[in-house]
């Protein structure tokens, strides 16, 4: 028995695959489907994507020729190509995976009916077949175009690893395709475990409350790195967040929160609110488990939160203070590289939460 749902809050597998592949510069990404399929990843990822813009007639007579036409014109520009498959070409039984045998093209079979964005992310990383190299460095993992904080998290992770003196080999998925082909480092740290590639031994996450454990794991592999400065930075950030949370708690009771987003951010947000406010997390709705908007709405309404952390889907359910931690956040114009990962990301998260609460109280 299948399970129909109302207003699913997660994009499809094809979009997830595009989010990974478009993160690698020097790789041309082609959506093998209609313009209707193409427009969505193009608009939310704001990345250069191509499409075969399939027509009905091409479905009837086969799509391989059309795909070859588009791929060849892109390959003529000297860049390798990745093809992301969509529902109908996947259903018609054409042998697309072998259509480019002997070329450098990457083929990702991630039609929408195969699952949601997480399935597409996994399919893309599997198709990329990333090898590791014997180098003394780490990869930054968990950077994904579907994450509101992808760019900021990446900057912060690079800054922190630079402070430690640990070289960064590759960033998934925000790097050059040619570097990717040279191989990844044997270790990875993640800015958002929900979107990890799984390449290399995972040494932990850089989400604020995980940083100490991750530094311990790094120290075992990189004993000569300088950890003191970052430890000091973490301690100061922790004190600052307690200071402002204390100020808030002098005036107000701890926020009762509803949290929605990828599981990793839900856990991070819940742990931060518990640590600095002693908050009750009234409801936590990880996208991996709950994607039906009606279920989301009912659970948030029943919880009567005074703080919602999630997307503007959740914000539209109930009148409460809101801080966006997952896509989409239509409540604000966002251009800068904001982070929630790393030391600065932790502080920025708390700053965002406190300002949302204060603004709400002032209304």
């Amino acid at each position: 028995m299948t399970s129909c749902m109302e207003n699913p809050v997660m994009p499809c597998a094809m979009t997830g695959a595009c989010a990974v592949l478009s993160g690698f510069s020097g790789l041309s990404v082609v959506v093998h489907g209609s313009s209707g399929c193409y427009y969505y990843p193009r608009s939310i990822l704001r990345a250069q994507l191509y499409s075969t813009y399939l027509l009905e007639s091409e479905i009837v007579f086969g799509t391989v020729d059309r795909l070859r036409e588009v791929v060849s014109s892109l390959e003529a520009e000297g860049k390798p190509v990745a093809v992301v498959n969509t529902c109908i070409p996947a259903l018609t039984g054409e042998d697309l995976a072998n259509a480019f045998e002997g070329t450098n093209a990457v083929f990702v079979d991630s039609p929408g009916f195969s699952g949601n964005a997480e399935a597409g992310v996994k399919a893309a990383y599997t198709a990329l077949d990333i090898k590791t190299a014997d180098v003394s460095a780490v990869n930054i993992d968990g950077v994904c175009g579907l994450d509101l904080f992808a760019r900021g998290n990446l900057h912060e992770a690079r800054r922190m690893l630079s402070l430690l003196g640990i070289p960064v080999r590759l960033s998934f998925a925000a790097d050059s395709y040619s570097k990717l082909k040279d191989g990844a480092a044997p270790f990875s740290v993640s800015v958002n475990p929900a979107w990890d590639s799984g390449v290399g031994e995972n040494l932990g996450s850089l989400l604020f409350l995980d940083i100490k454990d991750t530094m311990s794991a790094l120290e075992k592999r990189f004993p000569n790195a300088d950890y003191a400065a970052l430890e000091e930075e973490w301690k100061k950030a922790d004190e600052t967040m307690f200071y402002y949370a204390d100020k808030y708690l002098r005036k107000y009771t701890p926020p009762v929160a509803a949290v929605a987003g990828q599981g990793s951010y839900c856990r991070f947000a819940s742990a931060m609110l518990t640590r600095y406010f002693g908050s009750d997390i009234a409801v936590s709705l990880p996208r991996e488990e709950v994607v039906d908007y009606t279920e989301v709405s009912e659970k948030i309404s029943a919880a009567e939160p005074d703080l919602i952390l999630g997307s503007t889907f959740e914000a539209s359910v109930y009148d409460a203070a809101f801080f966006g931690i997952t896509h989409p956040d239509r409540s604000r114009i966002s251009m800068s590289a904001r982070a929630v990962s790393g030391v600065e990301g932790g502080v920025m998260f708390m700053e965002g939460v406190l300002n949302a609460l204060m603004d709400y109280h002032k209304r």
């Binding site: 028995m1 299948t2 399970s3 129909c4 749902m5 109302e6 207003n7 699913p8 809050v9 997660m10 994009p11 499809c12 597998a13 094809m14 979009t15 489907g33 209609s34 313009s35 209707g36 399929c37 427009y39 969505y40 608009s43 939310i44 191509y50 813009y53 399939l54 027509l55 009905e56 479905i59 036409e69 588009v70 014109s73 892109l74 003529a76 520009e77 529902c87 109908i88 259903l91 018609t92 039609p111 929408g112 009916f113 195969s114 699952g115 949601n116 994607v291 908007y293 503007t312 889907f313 914000a315 539209s316 989409p328 239509r330 409540s331």
Partner: protein, 347 residues
């Protein structure tokens, strides 16, 4: 990429177009018979558009959620489950819109809808995703499918029904207000916006309209079909440009059977109002401009007419001015364009 891509390839999919109609029936529910991702794409896009208008409302969409299992065993059971779920909420109307997947796996969607207990309030919209054509095709299919629920009845004089507004354009309400302003010169009111923020019960007003106003050529097929089915005249598009406003008043008046003298009075009043509004832009007189790329067919004609009225000259080396992305509607659309030109001059 050095490929020329035909307009046909860029037209989006019919599912999106159909949903842009059905999800604007407030007390209805739309079922999308598709994988969940299609539904997310659509309602997420509407959420973005609504946010542009400072509203975070989300249309209710139930998706049958076709997965690998339904691809192999068929999706009719999934559709049935979605219909039961929708019916349990007792909506006034259930629109069933299909994506390309059920079309390919051979589901008998029409049969499932017809045999359901709530069949009398189900509208089957055979959009078939991109296999059914472009977004534009989807809008036409939905408008025609829904209109079939209503029969012609006694005309309410001087009422118009608008067919196929662009529900997702950011200035849809401003354009509607401009059309109402022009119609009010003849005492004509809009009895129904088919389909924009209406209730299912409102659809019956299709049958009482004195005439129809088709939004533009995009929905011409639906507009003509509905007008023919109801045996009523129609105006073929919203007014564009200054002379377009006058033409629109005349066409609306004739469609309603209003006397020529009354129509000419309305036209005179509109022309005087246009002259008054254009006087705001006197400082543009004598300016030399270059129009450049035409973003939407008809934009150049609208611009040139305004230029002629304001004594603005077109030259190859003139100041490059910005044209609206869409064909400006009515006088208000022209004025917004002129404000952009004035800003350019004042920069």
């Amino acid at each position: 990429m050095q490929e020329s891509i035909s307009e046909k390839r860029l037209g989006g999919c019919a599912l999106g177009g159909s949903l842009a109609v059905t999800s604007f029936i407030r007390d209805g529910i739309t079922i999308i018979h598709s994988p969940q991702g299609c539904a997310h794409q659509m309602f997420s896009a509407y959420h973005a558009m609504a946010a542009d208008s400072d509203s975070f409302s989300i249309p209710k969409v139930i998706v049958s959620n076709i997965t690998n299992r339904e691809v192999i065993f068929g999706g009719e059971e999934a559709l049935l489950e979605a219909l039961d779920r929708a019916d349990a909420e007792n909506p006034a109307l259930i629109s069933v819109v299909t994506s390309c997947v059920p079309e390919t796996i051979g589901d008998d969607v029409e049969g499932v809808c017809a045999s359901h207990a709530a069949a009398d309030k189900i509208v089957y919209v055979p959009a078939s995703g991109f296999l059914g054509g472009s977004s534009q095709d989807g809008e036409n299919i939905a408008l025609i499918s829904i209109s079939k629920r209503v029969s012609p009845s006694e005309i309410v004089p001087r009422t118009a029904v608008i067919i196929g507004e662009k529900n997702l354009e950011s200035e849809v309400e401003e354009n509607y207000a401009e059309v109402c302003r022009l119609l009010s010169r003849l005492g004509i009111s809009v009895s129904l916006r088919f389909c924009r923020n209406i209730s299912a019960a409102d659809i019956i007003k299709l049958g009482t309209a004195d005439f129809f106003i088709i939004r533009d050529e995009r929905v011409e097929e639906a507009g003509r079909t509905i007008a023919e089915n109801f045996g009523r005249p129609y105006v073929s598009s919203f007014p564009s440009g200054l002379s377009g406003c006058v033409r629109f008043i005349r066409e609306a008046g004739l469609a309603c059977g209003i006397s020529e003298a009354e129509i000419e009075d309305a036209v005179s009043a509109e022309e005087a109002y246009q002259a008054e509004q254009l006087s705001i832009f006197k400082e543009l007189s004598g300016m030399k401009v270059s129009l450049g790329f035409e973003p939407f067919a008809g934009c150049h004609a609208v611009a040139r007419e305004a230029m002629q009225r304001l004594n603005i000259h077109e030259t190859a080396d003139g100041m490059e001015i910005k044209l609206p992305f869409y064909l400006p509607v009515g006088l208000s659309g022209v004025l917004k364009m002129l404000y952009l030109w004035r800003r350019e001059k004042r920069k």
